[in-house]
Symmetry: C2
Amino acid sequence: MAYELFYWPGIQGRGEFVRLALEEAEATYVDVGREPAKSGGGVRALMAMLEGEARPRLPFAPPFLRDGDVVVSHVANILSYLGPKLGLAPDDEASRVFAHGLQLTITDLVSEVHDTHHPIASALYYEDQRNEAKARAAAFLGHRLPKYLGYFERVLNDNPAGPTHAVGDDLTTVDLSLFQVWAGLAYAFPRAMGGADKRYPALAALAASVATRPNVAAYLASKRRIPFNESGIFRHYPELDQGPAKTGRKRS
Amino acid sequence: MAYELFYWPGIQGRGEFVRLALEEAEATYVDVGREPAKSGGGVRALMAMLEGEARPRLPFAPPFLRDGDVVVSHVANILSYLGPKLGLAPDDEASRVFAHGLQLTITDLVSEVHDTHHPIASALYYEDQRNEAKARAAAFLGHRLPKYLGYFERVLNDNPAGPTHAVGDDLTTVDLSLFQVWAGLAYAFPRAMGGADKRYPALAALAASVATRPNVAAYLASKRRIPFNESGIFRHYPELDQGPAKTGRKRS
């Protein structure tokens, strides 16, 4: 039976990390939120699940995945569930646990990217929190982003199997997700990311190598890949794409 | 061999969710950050791990757990790793996956609680972002917190085995974590949480029942339980503990 991915239509958002894994593995799946309402898809299908159809295993928010009787919510959980089934997870427990930790660090990074444009409230317009967004984006680009990217660069270089993959000597969902983060950051913050391929060469090489994998390349060229836009996680607001922040007083 | 928990000394913080599981299960563990430096503990031991001792499986940040050769980072990942070993996880895959999703929703809630006092930058003092903190706390207490607590209340009531536990008919790490969230919210936001036991009776009952479990009660009464304070995640700043926010313009 096909996997059913439930996510908002019209944006890559957090759903994209799941789409990339399904596409790379050529898994059969339905992107339910993007299906026509008349065939049981669309936002109404999402809402029906959230409002009770998924009981007793109700998700808190999209994305979530249905696989027969199993409902899996949160990107990292979905990828941890799908990884072994799609051949995108390490074999041994210690490596799987490490890969899941990396995936959760990516989750945190993505959440911080979101908060650069919504530092006060998701329920308010960006325009209503633009000044706070500028402050948060400056702190993010000045302190947090270099910490995250430096960390992943180091993890790649520390990999005993070589820097081609994050964990072990084969592709995992972590590699696919790092590609997505790299692409999203380049879209949202072209100025801050200028020269990033020099500062983080292993990450840049990983992103380039993922993008040219046949299944990923075919997906990226297809209509299934929604373009980045200013409703998703990675938004290009030029006023937020500043140089590194001035260092403020330290913690906390 | 004893589990080694690596976390900042002096705060409950994110480490507390791990401590509660270890304490409930009477597991043998070392809280490395709180051990004297002369016996190889303290912040220096944490930093040594982060700076390279944990390679090639470097964590991004505390808390992380070492179990022999395995290094596990992120609270939800640690609890997913420990759960089956400590008898605090459901038996079947569908329930385990659901429990992990709940744990990740708790992670998100905890992160939003943190951002009520640090909406702009973790690297800056609270006092330097107090006005933004007031706005973010108002949105959190007005919109997000009721959504989270309402969700967990519903999950408890939807449990086919009854509302005593979040998943199945036995204690899991999710129950322990929900207790911690409930206790932390009551400490940080006594005004906003006033009457919460009436609005969320199943959650309140769960928290009370966890608190009176013999091992948890003994732990809470011990010196190992660090009191809540204004360096942790749950901080009591009276100026942030307001009534529900005025509803602003909607998304996004």
